[in-house]
Amino acid sequence: MGNKMNLPIMKLILWFFMLFTLSGCFGGREINDLEIVIGIGVDKNESAGNILLTAQIVKENETGGTGKDGGGEDKAFWNVNSTGNSIFEAVRQITHKTGNRLFISHNQAVIFGKDIASEGLEKYIDFFLRAHEMRPTALILIAEDRASDVMDAKPETKKFPAVNIEKLVESYAFTSHLYKVNMKDFASCMMSDTKAPMAPLVSVMQDKENKDIYVSGLAVFKKGRMVGKLNEDEVRGLLWVLGKVKSGVITVSSPNEQGSAVLEILSAKSKVTPELKDKRIVMHIKIKEESSLSEQTTTENLATDSAFERMQKASAEIIRQEILAAFDKSKELNADIFGFGEMLHKKYGNEWKALKDNWDDLYPSVELKIDVESKIIKTDLLKKPAWQSEGGK
């Protein structure tokens, strides 16, 4: 029956095809109707209960480089403010200024002001997880002061503050003085019973006439409220335990105490084993670190076995001190930044039920057994220092 049957079906297919091609896209939005948001700042507004939202929008005609000469004052971005009782309300309020709905798929970072962070983020984070244009990989940061100031500081080498901030966070690997936290990580910690959420801190530094953005340290939260900060050394102490130290600099004094040796961290591994014995909670932390000798400020030749041994010991001690500093700070804040509670939960499922409810009281009593193995594995391009002291020969 071939041909007779095929004709109506062919027509039907054509019909459907036309239905789709001729009607255009539902909800299609052209590029010139989009306000592409690359960063969002959230601050507390002066009037009670309200929030001030700053959206950083890409200016379409400035990015192409066809700007009328002069250029100095021209910014490639536009920071729009709006207020509202909720994030979404403020996001929609912006359309009174922009004329277009915000397009937040390309949002790089969400920055919360300090005032709103210490009030509690649980009220404000929902939108950023729920909105379908938001990516779960967007970064979350806490401003040392106001988020809108951070958004305003125009970087020297990049066009957009938000992109610059994202770059700064990504560079955490060079120093291990902060850690990259995205929306999903933050939500994951918020959902945990014990683990304290953290987010990197961003601040504005006045440098002569120019303002610089500075990202370093971590803000520590407890039940959604910011309770304190970790400084650079404490953050690295935390990252040693979590096994997330990528690189960084350790300065130890040289064996003859006349100068110092500077080591570059090449790799670090950690293993944390919780132990629960007669009501005592002990965390066995084992760290393996490898570094290279990348600078020395003494004339003594450090490329010897005995010098290596002493430097390794000294750097292991520094790592230990950093971990203890982070732990002391977390005890002070009573915030489980390491996630020890989660580790216990995973190993001792049954016993955990009894510990869970008074974890806040138990946390300060946790004991650490730290075992650091530090190794120097190379000396880079020099075998000996150029200015070598007499004794070293």
Binding site: G27, T137, H345
Partner: protein, 368 residues
């Protein structure tokens, strides 16, 4: 006397079953909300629990080779009771099909095309299924190979891209949840992806030979189950504790892929695989529904029923639930209860009756 003239081979049946089970990948989300990080073991237990029932479907089909579900029921339970049982099955096919069509609509409206009218999505999808069904089981069987490979490809290719974000300690502690929750989870898993394979009773009649049928169908089920397991493991490892809050875990974990800021936004892959696989699943349900209903009415062909059924399905799908919240609540609590007899009781009973009465007997007329 058979309505379907097309024949499928055992190997094609394998892929049909694998694709059918894979089509339920997004439906394990119903379980995750209850069983959290233990979902992977719930899937394994669910598979073990549903194995005997699945084998009972296959053995029934093997015993009554060349006959479809309605013919089997007529022969086993007699003309009147058989019709009642068949109606029960048809009711189940009708509802499950509309729920699945609604799933596709919800998937699109939430993740892919938020501004498109819901009903339009349902109409287009149902029309595609209707077209496939009108082409017959042979065509579906032929495309099933392709669909299963698309599904496996998407899952296997996205897995390594997420390796750096996986934290396998999310699986600990192994046994934490109370038994009641695990039981409910096992029940959902053993009925939603696995028990629904009862629909193949209406399809296996088209097998060209029933040799090795048990081995082949069971391998199909295992391929499907392995896919579900990989997806569940990936979601648990990537999302951890947060996996209970997302509307769709698979989408959320794929959205997290970020390789050098270039390889990102791969969620369309899940969209493609999911559409293709749910299409296969819906088409099989649709086919079973059309064939069973026309057999019940004693029609010569099921083609005239396709368009009216498609219309009914769209209407049910568009109106049956108010929101995905409603959908999940009903499926988790009520949906799996009304389907217990037809998945876990009737096929075994039919098999038992057939054994005792020495069916099938062909000398006394043929069913309808």
């Amino acid at each position: 006397m058979n309505i379907e003239k097309g024949k499928i081979t055992g190997q094609q049946l394998l892929f049909l079953i694998a694709g059918f089970v894979q089509g339920s990948v997004l439906l394990i989300d119903f379980t995750v909300g209850i069983t959290e990080h233990q979902t992977w073991m719930v899937i394994l237990v669910g598979l073990a629990v549903s194995t005997p029932f699945f084998l009972s479907y296959v053995m029934l089909a093997k015993r009554f080779a060349g006959m479809n579900l309605v013919q089997i029921n007529d022969m086993v339970y007699g003309r009147f009771l058989g019709k009642v049982v068949s109606l029960y099955y048809i009711f189940f096919f009708l509802l499950t099909l509309s729920f699945n069509i609604r799933d596709v609509g919800e998937l699109y409206i939430t993740f892919l095309m938020p501004d498109t009218p819901f009903v339009l999505l349902l109409v287009v999808f149902t029309a595609t299924c209707a077209y496939a069904v009108s082409k017959g089981i042979e065509v579906l069987a032929r495309v099933s190979h392709l669909f299963v490979f698309i599904g496996i490809f998407v899952i296997i290719s996205t897995f390594p891209l997420l390796l750096d974000q996986m934290d396998f300690s999310n699986f600990l502690p192994f046994f934490e949840l109370p038994f009641g929750k695990i039981f409910q989870g096992v029940h959902i898993v053993s009925s939603v992806p696995f028990g629904e394979t009862v629909v193949f009773l209406a399809i296996m009649g088209s097998l060209n030979n029933t040799e090795h049928v048990i081995k082949r169908t069971y391998s199909g089920l295992l391929i499907g189950a392995a896919t579900l397991l990989i997806v569940a493991v990936r979601n648990i490892a990537v999302l951890g504790k947060t996996q209970t809050i997302w509307t769709s875990m698979s989408f959320q974990s794929i959205r997290l892929i970020d390789i050098g800021t270039i390889l990102t936004r791969l969620d369309f892959l899940v969209g493609i695989a999911q559409t293709v696989l749910i299409f296969l699943k819906c088409s099989l349900f649709f086919y079973a529904l059309a064939v069973s209903l026309s057999q019940l009415f004693g029609l010569k062909s099921y083609l005239p029923l396709i368009l009216p059924l498609a219309g009914i399905e769209v209407v049910i799908a568009a109106t049956v639930f108010q929101s995905p919240v409603d959908h999940a609540m009903i499926t988790q609590n009520a949906g799996i209860i009304y389907s217990i007899p037809l998945m876990f009781v009737i096929p075994l009973l039919s098999l038992l009756i057939a054994k005792i009465r020495g069916l099938p007997k062909f000398e006394r007329g043929k069913g309808t």
